[in-house]
C-alpha cells in the first residue's frame, strides 16, 4: 500500500472513529452495560466475601480493584465485535463499502473509538473504587502506566471480539458468546480469590492465565510489589493474542464485508 493510500486509510479511520465516539455520547447506557457488571462484582465481592477472604474488606478491595480492571477491559473490548456486527447486519457497512474508501477504514475506526470507550470505562471504575475506599499506594506515574497498560491489553484482546463479531450472525449472539468466553476466563483466575485452594488443573491454568498475570501486574503497579514477572507474562499473552486473533479477525472481516 502506498503512503498516500495509507494516509487516506487512517484519515477515513479517524472519521469513522469520530462516528464511534458520537455513538458513545448518544448511547451512554450501552457503555454502562459493560461497566455495570464489573462494578456489581466489585461491590458484591468486597462486601459479601471480602471480610472472609482477606480478613477485612479494605484489604480485599486493594487486591480486587486491579483484577476488576482486567475484567472491565475485557467486557469493554467485547463491544467492538458487537458494534461491527450491528453495522453489518443493519446495512450501514454496505454504504461504507459502496464508497471509494479503504476496506480497512471501518475496522481502524472501530478500534480507535474503542480506546475512548476503554478510557471512560476505567475512569468510571476507578471513581467507584475510590468512593468505596480504594487508594493507589504508589504514585501518579504508576497509575498512568497501569491505565495505559490496561488499554493496550484491551486492544490486544479486542481482535478476539472482532473475530467472533464477524463469524456470528446477530449482535445478540456475539454478546452472548463473548459473555460465555469472558466469564470463565475472569473467574478462573486470581481476580477474586487466590489460586492456592483451587484444584490442581485449575490452579495450573489460573496461575498462567492472561487475566491473572495482568491482574498481578496491575497490583504491582497500583499497590506496590513485584511487577517484572507478571508484566512480562501479560505482554507475552498480548503479543500472542494479537498474533492469533488479528489475522483471524481480518480474515473473517474480509470474508464478511
Amino acid at each position: 500500500m502506498s503512503t498516500i493510500a495509507l494516509d487516506k486509510g487512517m484519515r477515513h479511520g479517524f472519521s469513522l472513529a469520530w462516528r464511534g465516539i458520537l455513538k458513545i455520547r448518544k448511547n451512554p447506557e450501552q457503555l454502562m452495560d459493560v461497566t455495570i457488571a464489573p462494578i456489581v462484582f466489585l461491590a458484591m465481592f468486597t462486601y459479601l466475601f471480602g471480610g472472609a477472604l482477606a480478613g477485612n474488606t479494605d484489604a480485599y478491595l486493594q487486591m480486587l480493584v486491579p483484577g476488576i480492571m482486567v475484567m472491565n477491559i475485557l467486557q469493554a473490548s467485547m463491544t467492538a465485535g458487537v458494534q461491527l456486527n450491528t453495522d453489518v447486519s443493519k446495512g450501514v457497512f454496505d454504504r461504507f463499502r459502496s464508497m471509494p474508501i479503504a476496506r480497512s477504514a471501518p475496522l481502524i475506526g472501530a478500534v480507535l473509538a474503542d480506546i475512548v470507550r476503554y478510557v471512560v470505562c476505567i475512569m468510571v471504575l476507578l471513581v467507584v473504587a475510590t468512593v468505596m475506599g480504594f487508594r493507589v499506594q504508589t504514585g501518579p506515574v504508576e497509575l498512568l502506566v497501569a491505565v495505559g497498560l490496561t488499554i493496550v491489553f484491551g486492544l490486544a484482546f479486542c481482535w478476539a471480539s472482532v473475530f467472533v463479531g464477524m463469524l456470528l450472525k446477530t449482535p445478540q449472539a456475539v454478546q452472548g458468546m463473548m459473555f460465555v468466553l469472558i466469564m470463565p476466563l475472569t473467574f478462573g483466575s486470581n481476580v477474586f480469590v487466590g489460586t492456592s485452594t483451587m484444584p490442581g488443573w485449575l490452579k495450573a491454568w489460573a496461575d498462567i492465565s492472561p487475566v491473572s498475570l495482568m491482574a498481578d501486574a496491575l497490583r504491582g503497579l497500583l499497590n506496590g510489589g513485584a511487577i517484572a514477572a507478571p508484566l512480562t507474562g501479560s505482554l507475552i499473552w498480548m503479543v500472542a493474542a494479537v498474533a492469533v486473533f488479528f489475522p483471524l479477525a481480518t480474515w473473517a472481516y474480509r470474508k464478511r464485508v
Binding site: L22, K90, R95
Partner: protein, 316 residues
C-alpha cells in the same frame, strides 16, 4: 447511446439457491431501468453485484466502463447506493450522517458541513437535521437515505426497493426526488415489487423471476401483454353465479375466471365503459352484487401473464 451499466451472464449461487442464474442487463446513460420481481427473485443480489458488494460466481459487469470485480474502486467513485433497508446510522443525526459520508469522500470539514446542509435543504430535512435518524418517520428516513447516497454526486444511482413499506404520501415524495435526479442526468437502476412504481419511474422494465430475466420492455409494452384492467363481480347470492358469469362473458368476450368458494368472477377488459354497462345489465336481470370493481393488473397478474405461473406469495 452509451451504456452506464452492462451485465452479462451474471451468476450467483448460495448453496442450492440460484440467486442469479445468468442475468443480462443493460442500462443506457441517463435512463431509468426498473427491475421488477417478487421477494427472492434476485433483484437485490443483482444490485449488490453491480455495487461491488458481492462477487459474482460467473459472468461480468461494467459500470461506467469499469469492471465491478477488477476495478471496484473506480466503480465506487461513480455510484450511489440506497439499500432496501435504510442504511444510515440510526444513532446519528441527519447532519452527522451526511457530514460523516462527506468526510469519507474527502471533503474538508467546512466543505462536508456545507454539503450536508445543502442536501438536507434539498430533501426538506433541515428542520430535523439535528435529530437522531431513529426518530425520523419512514418517509424521512428514506429521504435521508437518498441524500446519503448522493453526497458524492454519483452518476449512477442504485435504488433497491426505495418505497417498500412507505405510505402513499411518502412514496410520492420519494418518486418526486427520483424524477428530479433523472432530470439532472443521473442514471438509475431501480428495483421494486410494485408494477405501478416501475410504471411511474422507469423508461424500461426488466422482470426477474428465480434469478432470471423473464421479460423486458417499456411499461406500456408489458402492460399490453398483461391485458390492461380487470373487472370483478361478486353477486350477493351464489345462485346468481351462472347468470352473472354468462353476462360478464358476453360483455367481455372472454370466459370469466370463477371462484366457487368466494363467488368472485373476474374477466380482463380493455374498455372501462364496460363497468357501467355491466351495472345496467345486472340491474335489468334484478341481480345485486356485493362487490363490483375495475382493477389495474397486480404484480401477481403480471407474473401470471409473463411467466405462466403464480408468484410464491399468491400461492400461499
Amino acid at each position: 447511446m452509451s451504456l452506464a451499466i452492462r451485465a452479462e451472464g451474471l451468476v450467483k449461487h448460495y448453496g442450492e439457491t440460484k440467486a442469479l442464474d445468468g442475468v443480462d442487463l443493460e442500462v443506457p446513460e441517463g435512463k431509468v431501468v426498473g427491475v421488477l420481481g417478487p421477494n427472492g427473485a434476485g433483484k437485490t443480489t443483482a444490485v449488490r453485484v453491480l455495487a461491488t458488494l458481492l462477487r459474482p460466481d460467473a459472468g461480468h459487469a461494467t459500470v461506467g466502463g469499469h469492471d465491478v470485480v477488477k476495478n471496484p474502486r473506480a466503480v465506487r467513485s461513480l455510484i450511489g447506493l440506497t439499500g432496501q433497508y435504510a442504511s444510515v446510522d440510526e444513532d446519528l443525526s441527519g447532519t452527522e450522517n451526511l457530514v460523516l459520508l462527506a468526510r469519507l469522500l474527502d471533503h474538508s470539514r467546512a466543505g462536508a458541513r456545507a454539503r450536508a446542509a445543502e442536501l438536507l435543504e434539498q430533501f426538506e430535512l433541515t428542520d430535523a437535521a439535528g435529530r437522531a435518524a431513529k426518530t425520523y418517520s419512514g418517509g424521512m428516513r428514506r429521504r435521508l437515505d437518498l441524500a446519503a447516497s448522493l453526497v458524492g454526486n454519483p452518476s449512477v444511482l442504485y435504488l433497491d426497493e426505495p418505497t417498500t413499506g412507505l405510505d402513499p404520501h411518502a412514496r410520492n415524495e420519494v418518486w418526486a426526488v427520483v424524477r428530479k435526479l433523472v432530470a439532472n442526468g443521473v442514471t438509475v437502476l431501480l428495483t421494486t415489487q410494485y408494477l405501478e412504481e416501475a410504471d411511474q419511474l422507469a423508461d424500461t422494465i426488466t422482470v426477474f423471476d428465480h434469478g432470471r430475466v423473464v421479460a423486458e420492455g417499456r411499461p406500456d409494452e408489458l402492460k399490453r401483454r398483461v391485458g390492461g384492467q380487470t373487472l370483478q363481480v361478486r353477486p350477493t347470492s351464489l345462485r346468481d353465479l351462472d347468470v352473472v358469469q354468462r353476462i360478464l362473458g358476453d360483455l367481455t368476450g372472454v370466459r370469466p375466471t370463477r371462484d366457487d368458494d368466494t363467488g368472485l368472477l373476474t374477466a380482463p377488459v380493455n374498455d372501462p365503459v364496460l363497468l357501467s354497462t355491466l351495472v345496467r345489465k345486472l340491474d335489468d336481470a334484478g341481480i345485486t352484487a356485493d362487490e363490483l370493481a375495475l382493477r389495474l393488473p397486480s404484480l401477481d397478474e403480471v407474473f401470471l401473464a409473463l411467466t405462466g405461473k403464480q408468484t410464491e406469495g399468491s400461492l400461499a
